[in-house]
C-alpha cells in the first residue's frame, strides 16, 4: 500500500513536471515553426533541368506557342502603356514614339547592341552589348512631356556569346543561351548570383513559359524544359529592409505592395513601412495611456488601503471586459465619424484636467466644509467622481466652443485652412483607442511595482514632516520607477501586437508619414488581413511569417527586458 502511494506520488510528480514543459514548448514551437516557414524566402534562386511531365505538357506547350509571337527578337516593342519603342542593332538610339509613331523622346542606347528584350512585365529592357547585359527601365515619374524616360539601372558582364535571350514575365530576370550550349539566368536585382546549366545540344530559341518555367528549343525543334525557382526577393534579404530602386520608380523607396496573383508585375515587400506603422501606433498609444495609467497606479499603489485596493484594482481591470474588437467598433462607429468634435473636446479636457490638482486642494482644505477627509484617502476617487465629471464636461464644452470660435468654425476647418487635412482613419484615433486598450495592462504592472515598496518608508518621511505627496514622490516612487518603466515596456509590447483595433481604424495605408493625422499600416493588421488568403507556398506567405518573427522578436525583447527589470526591483525592494 505504501508502495502504491509512493508510486502514485512519483508518477504524478513526473506528469506535473512534464506539463510544465508545455510553456517552453509553446514558446519554442512558435519560434521554430515561424522560422521553418519563413526560411525559404531567403533561399537562393535555383535553375534545374526537368523532363517534361506527361500530364501537363499539352497545356504548357500550347501556352508557350502563343507567346512565341511577341518574344521574337524584334527590335520594335510596344510597352504596356502604348509607348512604342524602337531600336535596331547598329543604331545607337532608342526611340520612344507615341501611338501615331511620332518620335517624342530619344535616349542614347549603347551603340552596336545585338539583342534586346523586354523584362519584368515590359517595364524594362535588357540590352546585350558585346559581352555586357544592360538593364534599362522606363521611368514614368521622371518623364519629359509625359513620355517615359529610359534609364540605365544595371550593367552585368556575361562571359560568352549569347545566341538567344528572353525576359522574365514578371521580374527583372533574363534567361539566355550561349553559343557554348549553356543556359544562364541572370537576376538584375542580384546579378552576382547568376545561374547556369550546361546542356549538350545547340539552342537557338529560349522562352519563358511561366514565371518559373523556361523552354529552350534546338534548331531541329526539340524542347528542353528548365525550372527556375526564385523567391520574389531573389534570395536577397536586403530587399525586405533596404530602400530599393524598383523598376519604374525614380528613386529608392520602401514599398509594401505584395500584389498577390499578379502575374506580370513585381511584388514589393519592404517591411519597413509596416514596422514604422507599428511603432508609430504603439508610441502614440503610450502617449495617451502612460500618464493616465501611471497616475492611477500611483494613487492606488501609494494612497489606498489594502481593502480598498482590492476593490479598485478589479474595477479598473474591468476595462479589459471591452475586447479590442469592441473598442475598434466604438472607434469606427462613434469616434471616427465625428473625430473633429471629439478631438476638440479632448483637447479641452486635457487642458482643463490639471485644474483638478488645484481644485483638489480646495476640496481637501475645505471652503468651510469638507468634501473628502484628508486622512481617508480611500474615498477620494469616488468622492471626486462628480467633480471629475464636471471638469470633463466643462472641458469638453470649452473645447467644442473654443473650436467653434476658431476661424472656419471647427477644428477641422481651421486645420484645413492651415494646410492640415485630417484623414478619416488617422494615427491619432488609433493611438487614443489603442491607449485605452493597454491602460489596464500598464496600470496593473505599475501598481504592483509601487505597492511592493514597503509603506513604512513613506511613513518615515511623513514622520519627519513631509506631506504625503512629498513622502511618496521622493521616497517610494524613485524605488518603483524601474517597475513603472517595465510596465510601460509591457504596454508598448501589447500595443505593438494589438490587431483588431489596427485592422479597423488604422486605414492600412503603407505610407511612412510622421503626421499624426495620416493613417498607418501595422505588421499585425497586415498579418490578419493577408495571411488567411496568401497561398501557402508563396513568397508573400513567407514574408508575412518573417514579419511575424519580427513582431515576436520585438515583443520578446521588450517583455524579457521588462521582466528582468521587475525581478531586479523585487530583489531590491525585498532588501528594504
Amino acid at each position: 500500500m505504501a508502495n502504491w502511494r509512493h508510486f502514485k506520488s512519483v508518477s504524478l510528480g513526473l506528469l506535473i513536471r512534464a506539463a510544465s514543459f508545455t510553456v517552453i514548448f509553446a514558446l519554442l514551437g512558435m519560434v521554430v515553426q515561424m522560422m521553418v516557414v519563413a526560411a525559404p524566402i531567403f533561399a537562393a534562386s535555383t535553375l534545374e533541368r526537368i523532363d517534361s511531365p506527361e500530364g501537363v505538357r499539352g497545356a504548357l506547350v500550347s501556352r508557350a506557342e502563343s507567346q512565341d509571337a511577341d518574344l521574337t527578337q524584334s527590335t520594335y516593342w510596344v510597352s504596356k502603356d502604348g509607348w512604342q519603342l524602337q531600336g535596331s542593332p547598329g543604331n545607337p538610339w532608342l526611340w520612344v514614339h507615341d501611338q501615331t509613331a511620332v518620335p517624342l523622346n530619344v535616349r542614347e542606347l549603347p551603340s552596336d547592341f545585338s539583342i534586346a528584350q523586354m523584362v519584368g512585365h515590359q517595364r524594362g529592357l535588357a540590352v546585350l552589348v558585346g559581352n555586357t547585359l544592360e538593364h534599362f527601365h522606363f521611368s514614368q515619374s521622371t518623364s519629359i512631356n509625359n513620355v517615359p524616360a529610359v534609364e540605365r539601372v544595371k550593367t552585368v558582364l556575361v562571359g560568352s556569346d549569347i545566341v538567344a535571350l528572353a525576359g522574365h514575365p514578371r521580374l527583372a530576370v533574363v534567361a539566355f543561351a550561349t553559343s557554348s550550349s549553356e543556359i544562364q539566368v541572370v537576376d538584375f536585382r542580384n546579378p552576382n548570383a547568376s545561374l547556369r546549366i550546361q546542356v549538350d545540344v545547340e539552342i537557338d530559341t529560349i522562352v519563358w513559359v511561366s514565371p518559373s518555367l523556361i523552354r529552350a528549343l534546338t534548331p531541329s525543334g526539340d524542347a528542353l524544359l528548365f525550372v527556375f525557382r526564385a523567391t520574389d526577393i531573389g534570395g536577397d534579404w536586403r530587399r525586405l529592409l533596404s530602400p530599393i530602386e524598383y523598376e519604374g520608380y525614380p528613386s529608392e523607396e520602401y514599398l509594401w505592395l505584395p500584389l498577390p496573383s499578379a502575374q506580370r508585375a513585381e511584388p514589393k515587400y519592404s517591411v519597413v513601412p509596416l514596422i514604422f506603422g507599428t511603432l508609430k501606433a504603439a508610441l502614440l498609444a503610450l502617449l495617451f495611456s502612460a500618464p493616465l495609467s501611471l497616475g492611477c497606479a500611483i494613487y492606488v499603489g501609494c494612497f489606498m488601503s489594502e481593502a480598498q485596493r482590492q476593490r479598485v484594482r478589479p474595477a479598473i481591470d474591468m476595462l479589459t471586459a471591452f475586447p479590442t474588437v469592441v473598442l475598434g467598433a466604438i472607434g469606427l462607429f462613434w469616434l471616427a465619424p465625428r473625430f473633429g468634435e471629439f478631438l476638440s473636446a479632448l483637447i479641452g479636457v486635457i487642458a482643463l484636467f490639471p485644474i483638478l490638482a488645484i481644485l483638489g486642494v480646495f476640496v481637501v482644505r475645505g471652503l468651510g466644509w469638507r468634501w473628502v477627509r484628508h486622512d481617508a484617502l480611500d474615498d477620494w476617487p469616488l468622492r471626486l467622481l462628480p467633480l471629475v465629471l464636471l471638469v470633463i464636461a466643462v472641458g469638453a464644452a470649452a473645447g467644442l466652443s473654443g473650436a467653434a470660435r476658431l476661424p472656419g468654425g471647427s477644428l477641422e476647418a481651421y486645420l484645413l485652412s492651415s494646410g492640415v487635412s485630417i484623414s478619416h482613419f488617422n494615427s491619432l484615433l488609433v493611438g487614443i483607442v489603442l491607449g485605452l486598450a493597454i491602460t489596464p495592462t500598464i496600470f496593473s504592472i505599475a501598481e504592483e511595482a509601487i505597492h511592493a515598496v514597503p509603506r513604512n518608508l513613506a511613513a518615515g518621511a511623513l514622520a519627519l514632516g513631509s506631506t504625503p505627496w512629498q513622502g511618496y514622490r521622493d521616497v517610494v516612487l524613485p524605488l518603483a520607477l524601474p517597475g513603472m518603466i517595465a510596465a510601460i515596456m509591457v504596454g508598448f509590447g501589447r500595443a505593438a501586437g494589438e490587431t483588431m483595433i489596427l485592422v479597423m481604424l488604422s486605414g492600412n495605408t503603407g505610407i511612412m508619414d510622421l503626421s499624426i493625422f495620416e493613417g498607418l499600416r501595422s505588421v499585425s493588421a497586415s498579418l490578419a488581413l493577408e495571411l488567411p488568403e496568401a497561398p501557402k507556398t508563396s513568397s508573400h506567405y513567407q514574408v508575412l511569417f518573417v514579419m511575424g518573427l519580427l513582431l515576436f522578436g520585438l515583443t520578446f525583447i521588450v517583455n524579457t527586458v521588462a521582466e528582468i527589470i521587475r525581478a531586479r526591483v523585487r530583489m531590491r525592494v525585498r532588501g528594504l
Partner: protein, 308 residues
Amino acid sequence: MTRLFRRFFVVSMLFSASFLWAQSDDESDRSLIIVGSDTLAKLVTAWAEQFYVLNPTILIEVQAVGSAATPPALLLGTATIGTMSRRMNADERDAFTVRKQRPPIEISLAVDAVVLIVHQQNPLESVSMAEVGQIFGMPGTCGNSVRPVFWRDLREDSVLADRKLQVFGRTATSGTYQYFRRAALCDGDPGIFVNEMPGGAGIVNTVARVPGGIGYTATSYTSNDVKILGIERPDGRVLYPEDPEYPLKRTLYLYVMTDVRSERPSIECEFLAYVAGEKGRDLLRSAGFSIPQVADSQSALGVADACG
C-alpha cells in the same frame, strides 16, 4: 469547497444540456462549403440561407474573405465551391489541373461593375479613366506623372478645394483590387496611400461619411448614401454602370471542386440547379448583378443539367 465545486459542475452540466436542447438532431455528411470573393458574399450568403431552408439537413458554411482564397481552398479541398471576382489565373489553373488531372469547372455566375463612389455632397459627377489612374495609382501608373493630392488638383473649382483626396480601396487579396489594378491602373501599382478596407461594404459606409473621400467598390454594395461617378470617354460621353460599354464591367466566377459532370448527383448539383432556377435568379438580380450571356458549358444551368 467541494460544495462550490459541485455547484459549478451542476451549472456547467445545465449549460451543456441547454446546448443539446438547442441542437437539431439531424446528422448529415452532406456539406457545402463555399469560400471566396467578398463581392459575391452578399449574394452567396443569401443563396445559402435560402438553400438551407430548402435543405435543412445539410451543413453549410460560407467564408467570404477574398478571391485569392478560392484556388488554394479548392486545391486543398477545404471548399467544395469557390467564388471569385476575377478569373483564375494561369498559375492557379495549372496547379489545379496538375493536382486533379483535369481543369476546374468554371461557371460564369454573374456580371457586375466596379463603380467609383464619392460623398453625396461632392460636386464631382464624372471622371476620366486617366484621372482614375492618377487618383488610385502610384505616381507613374498609366503614364500619368502627377497625383492629385487636394481636390483642387483634380477640379479647380471643387468646393472641397483644400481637402485632401482620401482614397479608399480594397485589400490586396481581394479580386476587386486585382481587377481594378488591371482594368483601371494599367496593371501598375496601386498607391500605398490608399486606405485598404477588408470589405466592399466598409468602403461604402466610410465614403458615405467622409466628404473628401473617393473609393471603388462593386455595384452590389452601393447605396443611396454615396454618389456613383460616371466615367468620361475621350469623346465626351459619360458612361454609367447601366451602359453596356461601361469600361469597368466584369464577370464573376464560380468554381466547383468535384467533377460534378461525372460523379453521382451531388449537393453541389442541387445548389447549382437552385442558383440557376427562378429563385436563385431573382436573388441575383435583386442583389444588383446581371446574368451573363455565355455558352451552356459555362453557365450554372448548363452545368447543373449536365450533372450525373
